[in-house]
């Protein structure tokens, strides 16, 4: 397809004949907009926005985390949960749930994942004002399919991972990694333009917001 490459580029250059040859091709970004817009406590704003999307949210302490994870999985009635390879072992220490591990050597198939009751992961960054969790597929989150196929996603967010606004999150993230930005459970606005939760992705998103022990 080399011919078309040159043809398209030649057409582009011909179309831009009016652009002065010495106009700089680099545009220094001046970021003339705010880093964030929400007022108030960052974690409170995040919790509020997540609830607005009909996610389940709990504020927990580091010490309580294993117990609260176990309680959440119990409430859900989850028997078998998918576990990314680098999930901190302590997190599931108080749960009797069956762990279905996903590793690079023995990855779970889509059908395997479909047969689990849920998945427990960490996240990379969370954005308070938009109620967004960003996963970057590191070992404590696993590859992208893990948080997609199971119908229940329990995500642990640490206070230090939460930023106020979208620009701050973009700056923290590495575009070289596959990223999934999650704002609530799967939903659609396709029927009469009203949001309805629960389509192909996890229909239940539960978030545990971890604050440092005081």
């Amino acid at each position: 397809m080399g011919g078309s490459r040159e043809r398209v580029l030649a057409r582009v250059r011909a179309a831009l004949a009016d652009v002065p040859a010495d106009e700089p091709v680099e545009r220094p970004s001046e970021h003339p907009y705010a880093d964030a817009h929400s007022e108030g406590d960052t974690l409170e704003v995040l919790a509020d926005r997540l609830l607005d999307y009909k996610a389940l949210v709990e504020r927990v302490t580091e010490a309580d985390l294993p117990g609260r994870i176990a309680a959440a999985l119990d409430r859900r009635g989850a028997g078998r949960v998918a576990v990314p390879p680098g999930l901190p072992q302590a997190w599931l220490a108080e749960s009797s749930v069956e762990r279905v591990g996903d590793t690079a050597e023995a990855p779970l198939s889509a059908a395997d994942l479909d047969a689990t009751d849920g998945v427990v992961t960490a996240c990379a960054v969370a954005i308070a004002e938009t109620g967004t969790l960003v996963l970057d597929a590191r070992p404590d989150q696993g590859r992208r399919a893990l948080t997609l196929v199971p119908d229940y996603h329990l995500c642990v967010v640490r206070a230090g991972q939460v930023v106020d606004g979208v620009p701050q999150a973009v700056r923290r993230l590495d575009p070289g990694r596959p990223l999934t930005w999650i704002s609530g459970p799967s939903a659609t606005s396709d029927i009469e333009l009203n949001r309805v939760e629960g389509v192909h992705g996890p229909r239940t998103l539960e978030v545990l917001l971890v604050e440092p022990d005081t």
């Binding site: 179309a15 009016d18 545009r27 817009h37 597929a137 939903a187 659609t188």
Partner: protein, 475 residues
């Protein structure tokens, strides 16, 4: 199970005259567009003055990119290849369809799952694949409704916006069985039940599919990252589970740097679905070992875009990020619906983009610049500040200056068709008067002939939206 086509549709005045008589469609459109306007106003309002700054920055980034598009295309190609992807260039629809068909055939598969994509709608990829014996399954809920109903898309974001819940239920009951898992016999028209039916219908297909076709909302030149915004998780399914991913992306979708997403990931969801953020956004850069498709192809599509780029007034249409806010606010669109525009790009943006992409070669294309009352609401809501009225007038001038033009006649026919009722005409006239700030009274150059003979009323203070909302509250 054939796909419908816009080919052979009548020009706007004729199509509009028919469309405005369809009371059910008008009811559906009124309900949907008014719902989304309210949501959009609320989440845009949350950002206060910063919305204007984000909008100006979005405009500036896109304008800059377009002015150096050759540079950024080459940079994007290099970045994607460095990350393990393969880049293809398609000068037109036929070439893009041939590339995708060849790539699918090479896998040995005869079915593909699709993420909603305007570019593949534009090139009618599904028809091309069907002719090659390959079944393309649309997985976005609204696209699925349109595909099952053998219908045409009528909106950029929600292609089935012209259908209400009871019609969607009927289509699911009638057609799902032909394509795969049938709808449950006791299906109700509760939106939750309809969403559940779509989930069950597509579940097994997602889990077994080996090839996916997508578009992209943005392609980042410096990192080679592609970005898809969606809601349902069908996009994630297609972008994550298959072995091969083919993304067909218009050459205008480029942004220079990763940090430019700071702007567009705020502008697009708020302006589009009226959400602070859409449920899911996926970004990927080439191939990631052990995670997602291991064979990734990017097809860069021209298909008329360089012709648009060559027009120094019209090229601003290429800034469009396909949010649909201009459709949702447009008094003409609200009355005619999307089908009357005879193109996959309906509404105000379609009225300037389609004729430019096609080169105004047909009567349908030449009528489109007149499918507007020039009220300016579209410019007001555009998150990248495309001056749609300016381009409409510019294109009218081109139509009018062509030999044997029908411009004035076409416009009058369009106005009569859309605003046949006195209420509607009155509303449009008031709209035109109140938002005239977006409309230049006198245009430079030869287009000035058009404006010189037409008076615009004095413009009072206050935005279109303020007026519109007050009007709605008074009802």
């Amino acid at each position: 199970m054939s796909s419908a086509t816009f080919l052979g549709m009548p020009p706007f005045p004729e199509a509009a005259e028919h469309a405005v008589r369809d009371a059910r469609t008008r009811h559906n459109l009124h309900k949907a567009t008014h719902t989304i306007r309210g949501k959009r106003d609320a989440v845009v309002g949350e950002l206060g003055d910063d919305w204007a700054r984000l909008r100006a920055e979005g405009e500036a980034v896109k304008t800059h990119t377009l002015r150096h598009l050759d540079h950024y295309l080459e940079r994007l190609e290099e970045s994607v290849q460095r990350a393990g992807g393969t880049v293809h260039w398609a000068a037109d629809a036929a070439e893009a369809n041939a590339i995708v068909t060849r790539l699918v055939r090479r896998t040995g598969e005869t079915e593909v799952v699709k993420v909603k994509s305007m570019a593949t709608q534009e090139i009618e990829l599904n028809n091309a694949l069907e002719a090659a014996g390959i079944t393309a399954y649309e997985t976005d809920l609204a696209e699925l409704i349109v595909q099952l109903g053998e219908d045409l898309p009528s909106h950029i974001l929600v292609p089935a916006i012209h259908l209400g819940r009871s019609q969607i239920r009927e289509i699911f009951l009638d057609k799902m069985a032909e394509w795969g898992v049938p709808a449950p016999a006791d299906l109700t028209d509760d939106p939750r039940a309809l969403a559940e039916a779509a989930r069950v219908h597509l579940r097994e297909l997602f889990l077994r599919s080996k090839v996916a076709v997508s578009g992209a909302n943005f392609a980042v030149a410096d990192s080679g990252t592609l970005v898809v915004l969606e809601s349902e998780g069908n996009g994630r399914m297609c972008l994550t589970l298959p072995e091969t991913l083919i993304s067909v992306v218009g050459i205008e979708k480029i942004v220079p740097t990763w940090s430019d997403l700071e702007v567009f990931l705020q502008l697009l969801p708020r302006s589009s679905t009226g959400e602070r953020m859409n449920p899911y956004t996926s970004t990927w850069t080439g191939v990631t070992p052990g995670d997602g498709p291991q064979d990734f192809h990017l097809v860069l599509l021209d298909n008329g875009r360089t012709d648009v780029l060559a027009d120094t007034v019209g090229r601003q249409a290429l800034r469009c990020i396909r949010c649909s806010a201009c459709l949702n606010i447009c008094p003409v669109y609200e009355r005619t619906g999307g089908h009357a525009y005879g193109s996959v790009y309906p509404g105000p943006i379609g009225a300037i983009l389609t004729p430019q992409l096609h080169g105004m070669s047909s009567e349908v294309d030449r009528a489109l610049p007149y499918a507007s009352s020039l009220c300016g609401a579209c410019y007001d809501v555009c998150p990248v500040a495309i001056d749609i009225p300016e381009v409409l007038v510019h294109l009218r001038e081109q139509v009018a200056s062509a030999p044997g033009h029908m411009g004035e006649k076409a416009m009058m026919a369009g106005a009569e068709a859309v605003f046949g009722s006195s209420t509607a005409l009155d509303a449009a006239q008031r709209a035109a008067g109140l938002v005239g700030g977006a409309i230049p009274k006198h245009l430079p150059g030869t287009a000035g002939k058009w404006t010189d003979t037409r008076d615009l009323p004095e413009i009072p203070r206050g935005s279109f939206r303020q007026w519109w909302n007050e009007r709605e509250e008074d009802r």
